[in-house]
């Protein structure tokens, strides 16, 4: 990277500094401060120079828009395409959620190609495959998201909107296959439009037991479900991106940045291998994966992590899977999310500063899009006032500052390039460790992955408790004994009754025999997926679409799947 003359000059400067310090009286020279260690465990020097990256191959840095995409995926980026505003929202029923979407649109919130974002958080019962009238849904309908279970819900939300101009992502977790089947049925039967025209980002998070201990599908089944989701969208909705490279939830659960990427990448490799088993081309599958990383306030560590992720992605899928398509090798980080774990209930407006720093890290890493969370997410789902600040954060960074003028402005920094290398090595080290322990799937099934994450979460909490990690206004400079009472959003209780009545009415007004027969086909498809995989690959999602068209609810479809594919606790 540098010629001998440059390195010699650097060495000379170091020697001069050491000599000058040695010449000073001992009492005048403070002892050198201990080097900092970043959250991923990498020990840092006090400053960096050309000697720290002298052995690097310039090809690994390259130029923006070129393999291995360390410096971003595009030669011109924010100069022509502002960062996409992919913040999610959703609460109560479709009506209230639709009002929030309009509110965001009026503020100027925009996503891909000017499309209006429709990243919708669904409520917890929906995420677990429960209709609002299920006993386990009681008290939880419409509270942490919007309740969705029938074609009527889709009509309530989407009727009158140009769905070909929406960037739609329904965060359905375990219910993702039935919810996307309902979306397909809505497009085909109620809108009479083409599936091929839709920009859909179906939620692909069947592997969540890696980091949550909530109920879920068994690991091997989760990989099959992911494959079903991906295959159906590739075959039917080519604009959709059904692969999720999810680091956010790993990070929120406790994984430090390098560990987050290692686990997310190991999962993606396994998921792509599963897709190969059913005959899908990795060039097409890998291109369907969008990044959803966690971005904390560790500014340089996050920038380096995100640059290392793109480089490792390109190399992994080129070298290990033989991918050649530029679309596959460019890892598109479209929904990087600012860390909820960084936010505090005390002095809650300080969270605006925190999310801005995190959003700036995303911009400095040249990400395609982000989900800047609202300052009140420490205590509640977002109020209108708080989401307005989120939208203004993107707009101010993009339109009032000089941040977007130059692509990858940190590229070539001794420190940033060195740290990018170190983060890449740390990620690879954790992935190798999993190989030594018997492979990723075994690490997932045994609970090893969750154990690692939990241990890291505990370390982080202990550091906050002891004051080793500073949270301003919480464990340092604290002036309030108790945070002032916060405005916490609660959906009116009538919302739940309204949703229950709506689903009951939906169930009354349909051809029961037709629904029963369609659900029987879902059952047969699920059994085939369970017993005849991978030759049965691709049978489940079409059966679900037909069931949705016949009038089945998401909860009814999920129930059949859970009964036939297993559902519960399978990780450790």
């Amino acid at each position: 990277m540098f010629n001998d003359d440059t390195l010699k000059k650097k060495q000379l400067l170091d020697e001069q500094l050491m000599a000058a310090m040695a010449a000073m009286p001992a009492e005048a020279v403070p002892p050198p401060p201990p080097p900092a260690t970043n959250w991923s465990g990498i020990s840092l020097k006090h400053s960096y120079g050309p000697d720290d990256i002298k052995d690097m191959d310039f090809q690994d840095i390259g130029i923006p828009g070129n393999y291995p995409f360390t410096r971003g995926n595009y030669p011109f980026h924010y100069q022509v395409e502002p960062m996409l505003m992919n913040q999610g929202y959703g609460f109560a029923t479709t009506e209230e959620t639709r009002q929030r979407r309009q509110f965001l649109q009026d503020l100027g919130s925009r996503s891909q190609g000017g499309l209006v974002t429709a990243v919708m958080t669904l409520d917890l019962p929906t995420q677990r495959g429960l209709d609002p009238d299920h006993p386990a849904a009681a008290g939880k309908v419409g509270e942490c998201g919007c309740s969705f279970s029938t074609l009527d819900d889709f009509s309530e939300y989407f009727d009158g909107l140009d769905i070909t101009k929406l960037f739609t992502a329904l965060l359905a977790i375990d219910n993702a296959l039935p919810i996307n089947a309902l979306f397909a049925a809505y497009i085909l039967d109620r809108r009479k439009e083409n599936l091929a025209d839709m920009w859909n980002l179906p939620c692909n998070l069947f592997h969540h037991q890696q980091f949550w201990d909530a109920a879920g599908y068994p690991p091997k089944t989760a990989l099959k479900m992911s494959t079903e989701l991906i295959k159906w969208h590739i075959d039917n909705m080519p604009l959709a991106c059904p692969g999720a490279f999810d680091g956010y939830n790993l990070g929120e659960s406790g994984a430090p940045p390098a560990m987050e990427v290692a686990f997310a990448l190991a999962h993606t490799i396994a998921a792509v291998e599963e897709c190969q088993k059913v005959g899908l081309d990795p060039n097409i599958v890998v291109a369907k994966y969008l990044g959803h990383p966690h971005v904390t306030q560790n500014f340089f560590e996050e920038v380096a992590k995100l640059r290392a992720t793109r480089r490792l992605w390109a190399k992994t899928f080129a070298q290990r899977f033989g991918c050649t398509s530029p679309d596959a090798l460019r890892h598109k980080i479209v929904i990087a999310q600012t860390a909820g774990t960084e936010l505090t209930a005390q002095e809650i407006h300080n969270n605006i500063i925190r999310t801005t720093i995190m959003a700036m890290a995303g911009m400095m890493a040249d990400l395609e899009g982000m989900w800047v969370v609202s300052y009140d997410e420490a205590i509640s789902i977002p109020t209108e006032e708080a989401v307005k600040v989120c939208v203004r954060t993107y707009q101010i960074l993009q339109e009032e500052t000089d941040l977007p003028h130059v692509t990858d402005p940190l590229g070539g920094s001794y420190y940033v390039e060195w740290l990018t290398n170190q983060m890449e090595q740390e990620i690879v080290k954790i992935m190798n460790q999993m190989d030594e322990l018997g492979g990723y799937l075994k690490c997932w099934e045994s609970g090893w992955i969750r154990g690692q994450i939990e241990a890291e979460a505990a370390k982080r909490f202990t550091k906050i408790q002891t004051g080793e990690s500073v949270k301003v206004g919480v464990n340092k400079y604290r002036v309030e004994e108790i945070a002032p009472p916060a405005e916490i959003y609660r959906r009116p209780i009538e919302i739940e009754q309204k949703a229950i009545e709506r689903v009951k009415k939906y169930k009354e007004n349909r051809d029961h025999e037709k629904v029963k027969a369609a659900l029987e086909n879902v059952k047969l498809a699920a059994i085939k997926v369970d017993k005849e995989w991978p030759s049965s690959g691709g049978v489940l999602m079409p059966a679900l679409v037909e069931a949705a068209r016949a009038g089945a609810t998401a909860g009814e479809m999920s129930k059949v799947m859970q009964e036939n594919l297993g559902y519960g606790y399978f990780s450790g």
């Binding site: 386990a136 008290g139 939830n249 108790i482 945070a483």
Partner: protein, 130 residues
């Protein structure tokens, strides 16, 4: 003969809610304090009272990130009363809870409520232990 037995605590959370990091850490802190902790996830709140009876616990500690707070807690207190356990089992609720909700929870017989920004998890540990 040992007369003092270890305090038994049921720490539990709805299996629909993924916001579990701090409640898991609480579990570890309680164990570090020498308490016996049973950590569960429940599908329906009725399961919590069943587990509390089977495990003969002294304390039930529940965590909510909003979803189901008032419904589940109301039902929990009703069931404890029905079983005659209300005076034997201490109930502690933590999570994203408003002032008004705290008042209502205390009125229905919850022993203590921990809200965002109130103190630290060590205060919760102390409350469980006393």
């Amino acid at each position: 003969m040992e007369t003092k037995t270890k305090k038994r605590v049921l720490v539990t959370k709805s299996d629909q809610d993924a916001h579990e990091v701090s409640v898991r850490y609480l579990t570890q802190l309680l164990r570090d304090k020498g308490m016996e902790v049973i950590f569960t996830r429940y599908a329906i709140i009725d399961e919590v009272v069943k587990t509390a009876m089977e495990e003969d616990v002294d304390v039930i500690a529940m965590s909510f990130y909003s979803s189901g707070l008032m419904y589940d807690t109301t039902r929990l207190m009703e069931l404890l009363k029905e079983q005659g356990l209300k005076d034997d089992i201490k109930v502690i609720i933590g999570g994203t809870i408003s002032d008004q909700e705290k008042k209502e929870l205390l009125q229905m017989g919850v022993d203590d409520v921990f809200m965002p920004g109130m103190g630290t998890l060590l205060d919760v540990v102390e409350c469980v232990n006393c």
